[in-house]
Each structure stands twice: as C-alpha cells, then as structure tokens.
Subunit: 368 residues, 2 copies
DNA sequence: ATTATACTCCAAAACGTTTTGGAAGTCAAG
DNA sequence: CTTGACTTCCAAAACGTTTTGGAGTATAAT
C-alpha cells in the first residue's frame, strides 16, 4: 500500500514533535532492556553507576519524558486530587473560591499532586456523576468537599465508598469524617453581640440557601444572641439571598423598607454584605452612621470596601492549604504501613473566626 | 504463609468498597470474552441484542465503571484540558480568574472534558515544568494560556511542540496561533477620551508588571489619547502596581500626593481602581466629584462598588467559554479527517470592550 | 577447584482497556 | 451439497510503564 504509507508520513510530519520517545525506544538505542532503563532512571542501585549515567544521558538527549497515564495505570494511583466546585448559576463569581482554590492549588503542587477541578450545580445529577467518575473511574486519589450541606450526600457517598476525602465544613449525617471548619455559630454570636453592644435594637439578617450548613449555623448564632438579650426570639427580620452580591442588594432593599427600619444588617457572607451596603447607599444612607452592616469571611475586598466592612475573619487561603495537606496525608498513610509511626494526622479541626471591626459598624443613629 | 494471607484479608476488608469490578470480572461472570463485554457496553452492533442487554444488566448489578486511566492509555487521549493559572504571590485573589475559570469549567464539562488546574508563578521554573508535564507527559490533550506576556515562552513552547492550545491574549513572537483577545489599546483609548471629554487635564495612571502585554497596550492607548489632545507626550503620572487591590491603594496614595494633583486616575484593571477609590476616600475625597476613577474589566464588584465604577466591560465569562470551545474544536479536528468538512473553526478573535460609565467618573472639581 | 557473594542485568507479567483480524455458526440461494 | 452472506463471538496485541523473580558473571573466600 504505497499510498497509505505516504499518507502516514505526511500526517506524522505535520504533527512534528508529537512523536513521543518511550522507554522501549531508549532501550533499543542503548542496547539495554526496558527494565534496566526504567530502573536506571528511577535510581535503583541494582544498575551499574556507569550504565545509569549512560541511560540518563541518552534520555536527556532523546528528550524522554515518562508517559504519566501509563505510570498511573501501572502504579494504581493518579497522584491527583479532585475538587468539585459547587456553582449555583452559570457563574462562580465568589472570591471565596478564588482564595480557596489558590490555597488548594499551591499546597497540592507542593506535594506533587495534580488538581482536577470541575464546576457543578449543587445537588444535581451532574454533580453526582462527577463524584462517581472520580471514585469509580479512579480519576483521582482523593477529593475535597466544600460548602457542606445539611445531609450532605457527597459525604455520605465518599464515606460509603471508603474514598479518601477532607471537607471544609461539617455535616449532620452521624458519620465521622475528616474536616476543617470555622465555628460559624460562635463567630456569628460574636458579630451579633458586637452590634448589640453598640446599642442596636432593630436588626435585619440576610441568610442564604437553606441547605447550606454554615448558613444555618450562622443564623442560629444570630438568633441566640437576640434571644439572650431579651429581644423577641424571632426578633429581627430574616431575608434569604443566594450568597451573591446582587442578592444582598435586593435583600437589603427589602429589609430597609420595613418599619421600624433596622439600624443594623448582618449578612451571611461578605459578598451579600457589600451588596447591602450598596443598597443602603443608593437610598442615601451613610453606612456606619445611619446603618451598620456586618459580613462574614473577610474576603480581601472587605478591607477595601467603602466604608471598610466589619466582618468575621476566616483564613480561607490557609484553610485551603490545610484541607489539602490533610487529604494528602490521608492518601499517603497506607504507604507508611511498614514504616515507623508517622505523626498522627489531625482529623477534625474547628477554628474560631476573629471579629474584625471596621467602619461599616457604629452606634445606631439616635444614640448619645 | 498463613499469616500473610490473614493480613491481606484484614486489609482488604477494611478498605471495603474499594475493590473494583473490571471488564474481566464481568466477562467471567457472564461467560463471555472481555472483547464482547467491552463492545456490548460501547454499543457496537456486532453483538447480539440479547447479549447486549444481558451485559448491561450485569454491569449495572455489579456496579461496573470503566477505569478511566486505562481508557486514556489505550485510546491515547485524555479528554482533559490543562489550565495553568499564573499567580503572583501566594494568593490569587483576583475575581478575574474566578470568572474565567467558571466559563472554562462549565464549557469543558459541556464537552465532556476534564479540567486540570494548576497555579504557578509566571515565568518560573515551576511553570515551565508544569507545561512540560502537560505536553511531554501527555497529561492533557490541550492547554489554555492566559495573561499572555510580551515574549511569551509558554506560547513559543506549545507552538514548537505542536501541542493544541488557545490563548486569552496575543503575544509578539511573530508566531501565528489561535487566541481570543480584547482590544486593550482601543478600549483604553475610549476610557481615556471619556475622561478628557469630561474636562480632565491632570491624569494619573496605575500600570502593572511590565511583561504583561495587555498592560502595555492599555498604557499605550492611554498615552496616545493624551498626546492626541495636545497634552505632553508623557503627561500624566504613571505608577506601577501588581494588579491587586492593595497595590492600587498604594499607587493612588502616591499619585494623589503629587502636585498638581490629578483629577482623574485610570487603572489597568478594576481591582486596582477599587483600591484607588479606597485611597482617595481615606484622604477625604469624594470619588466622582473630587476625583474621577476608571477601571478595566468590569468585574461583578465594579457595579456594586461605592460609587459604582466606570470601566471597560470585557465579557470574561464568555471569553472563558469561547477559548475552551475553540480548544475543543482544535483537538477534535483530527478525528474528523475522513468526515465531511466541518464549520471552519475561528482562530483569532478580537473583541472591542464597551465603555460603562458609572458614578465614579464626572467632571473635574473646578468646572462649570 | 569449589562454593559463596555481590553485582548487573533482563524476560515476562501486570495494570484495564480498545481494536484488529479472524473464527465459528446459521441460513438462504444456487 | 456448496457457496456466500450474515451474525455473533473471541484471542491476542497494543497502549507505556513498574515490579517480580531470577539468570549470568565476575570476585572473594574456602
């Protein structure tokens, strides 16, 4: 088949540079076995110093680079972590995830793990399929779960399958699993108490999708403070948003339309708090004087908002690093089976967020 | 070795659920060959309707899921895209990337591609290694390059290797390659002209790392407008930032300390513009009246800033989708070799950003 | 001269798929 | 009874590694 041969040559020359050098090529060139070449490159000591040099030299010259897929198949591990980002609408404009992703990405890199990212709407069939692919398809060695939900099916699934994972956030499934979480309840208590101490009596709260555990905890914390201070148990208006800025804007518009008008608005996260400030300002109110606003997260923008936002600081970047480090340890533990005892890995971490008072909060208008 | 057997049983039962079902297991159970099982599941028509049903049924029951790594190795493709995010400091807090990542992630998912993300400092050895791993290690089928640089070595490398990629941004290497870019030069001209038209005469400009092509183009556009309006060629002060909010803050502080004090500050991106607003406000200036500020990108925050930021809108999310779609087409083209002509893929796209006038810009203080 | 001890090397199996190139069997037409 | 066409199945090779369990050769000790 002369013609087909020509064809092949054309093709292969047009994709120049894509012809890969394999161990077999190296072995042939060197007059060695594939085994020896492999072991030489891996640095085993059952190959002569001289041979090793020769192999390395030639590998360099021929531009050998191991095929990672083949390594993965043979070694039965991928050295990859999976991170499925729950994204509500088409967008994920939440800086929270940037920050987290940076922490995860950098730490994964430090441990020579690749990171597989996918974006899926929470609780969707697509999300379930993504996790199935990861676990059953052996696409990664471990998974990171974020924005945990009340009865989190992702956590249940991963637990049942015995697949290594670490969560950012807890859940209430009655399952013991490794996580890092900030203490949303206590944190929100601190923030709410701060507002009460300033003299506020009329509150508005901007909550978020019911299923998100941290939102419920924050709302609970908020309510507990109101109650402890003798305000009606359900005192304070609660409006729900979707964590995005725009929804905070709308929620605040609604809250500020009520009578008596709240003098302090607390939002479930910074982004909505910023939206709320924006709404107040559009109505001609001066935030920090006419209305106090508080957020939660301390995203980088909070500090540079106008006025700077009072909020609860969570070290998001560091949490990203930390859950990643925990996951890597979890994955690597089996390898240490025969070795000496490792430092016992931390499994459950609860951080207390720190109150950051800035100019968006102050005493209510009428106070001395 | 009785003991070792017991040991193995203990281990394997403790990792319950992690024992995978393979094609071979299915074949044995069904009394068929691996070939037939594989082809039945893949839907080939050379397996009897009845057998196919039986196979699918059993696969379901036994919870079979193909091993993706094995598929990748055999098929010689990974169905994976690689995205190396250039991140300066340890953080990546730029919402620009969230937005972009969302677009990329969603579009990749739509085409059933996985997304491999890594974060690396630009122009570093680590970054080079990341690309080598992708290309030579065959870790992905294509790559996305963003934040292009003047002589972009990533682009040179990928081109030389004949590896499929699409860039967000151009470069000046004299190489033809597929990209989507917004017209930074023209965009910035529009913005600067807007300020001139408002009556401003004293400008400050917040620039960014020299190597970033879009920054140079924006600066060029800015200068060209000053010049065209008869202001001194280098009229207007230029201070450099690193694209982060904080650096915009500092740069603005410096600019506002000069005499005559600029009445308009334009920043290379929104984040620094927001930082600049923050600095001005801290000095007691009212943005939009005492000082006009303009940004570039129209990140979601721009609209909700206080005051809302005048900026050039780039559809970042859509650009993410678009470069991803282009890359997928590029990768899949070889598969269509024998088929009919496909719609010719677009290779180079230049978008003109749109001026969004908001309240952060207005006439200079002394004007009628 | 024989045995032990390193020291180097390698053939073959395995990881779990997909694909190639038939091999059997059935059935209808000649 | 042959032939050819069709249907249904399969053995084996391949993808590119790593690892197992020796084999072959020197060198040193007996």
């Amino acid at each position: 088949m002369r013609l087909s041969e020509t064809f092949w040559i054309l093709i292969s020359s047009s994709t120049a540079g894509s012809m890969r050098v394999t161990l077999k090529d190296l072995a042939k060139k060197l007059g060695l076995s594939v085994t020896t070449v492999s072991r030489a490159l891996a640095g085993y000591d059952d190959v002569a110093e001289n041979t090793r040099r020769r192999v390395r030299q030639t590998a360099q010259e021929m531009g050998y680079y191991p095929n990672i897929t083949a390594q993965q198949l043979r070694r039965q591990r991928t050295d990859t972590l999976a991170f499925v980002i729950p994204t509500h609408g088409p967008r994920l404009s939440d800086p929270f995830f940037s920050e987290l992703l940076a922490g995860i990405g950098n730490e994964a890199g430090r441990h020579r793990f690749d990171l597989l990212v996918s974006t899926q709407p929470p609780d969707s069939e697509a999300e379930r399929e993504a996790y199935r692919r990861i676990v059953h398809g052996r696409r990664a060695d471990g998974a990171l779960v974020v924005r945990t939900r009340q009865k989190d099916e992702r956590i249940r699934f991963l637990s049942e399958q015995g697949f290594p994972f670490v969560a950012f956030g807890r859940s209430d499934l009655g399952i013991e699993f490794p996580y890092v979480d900030e203490d949303s309840y206590t944190g929100m208590r601190l923030l709410a108490q701060h507002m009460v101490d300033l003299g506020h009596r009329h509150f508005g709260f901007i909550s978020a999708p019911a299923g998100l555990l941290f939102c419920r905890l924050r709302l609970d914390g908020y309510r507990s403070v109101l109650q402890a201070n003798g305000f009606p148990a359900n005192g304070g208006l609660v409006v729900s948003g979707d964590l995005a800025q725009r929804s905070g804007f709308r929620a605040a518009q609604e809250l500020l339309g009520r009578t008596p008008r709240p003098t302090a608005i607390i939002a479930c996260n910074d982004l909505m708090a910023l939206g709320a400030m924006s709404a107040a300002q559009k109505m001609g109110l001066t935030v920090g004087r006419d209305l106090s606003v508080g957020g939660f997260d301390d995203i980088p923008l909070a500090e540079h908002a106008h006025p700077p936002l009072t909020t609860m600081r969570q070290p998001i970047y560091e949490i990203g690093q930390r859950i990643t480090r925990m996951l890597v340890q979890l994955i690597q533990v089996p390898r240490g089976l025969s070795g000496e005892e490792e430092a016992p890995a931390e499994r459950q971490v609860l951080l207390t967020p720190q109150l950051i008072v800035r100019e968006s909060s102050g005493p209510p208008p009428g106070s001395a």
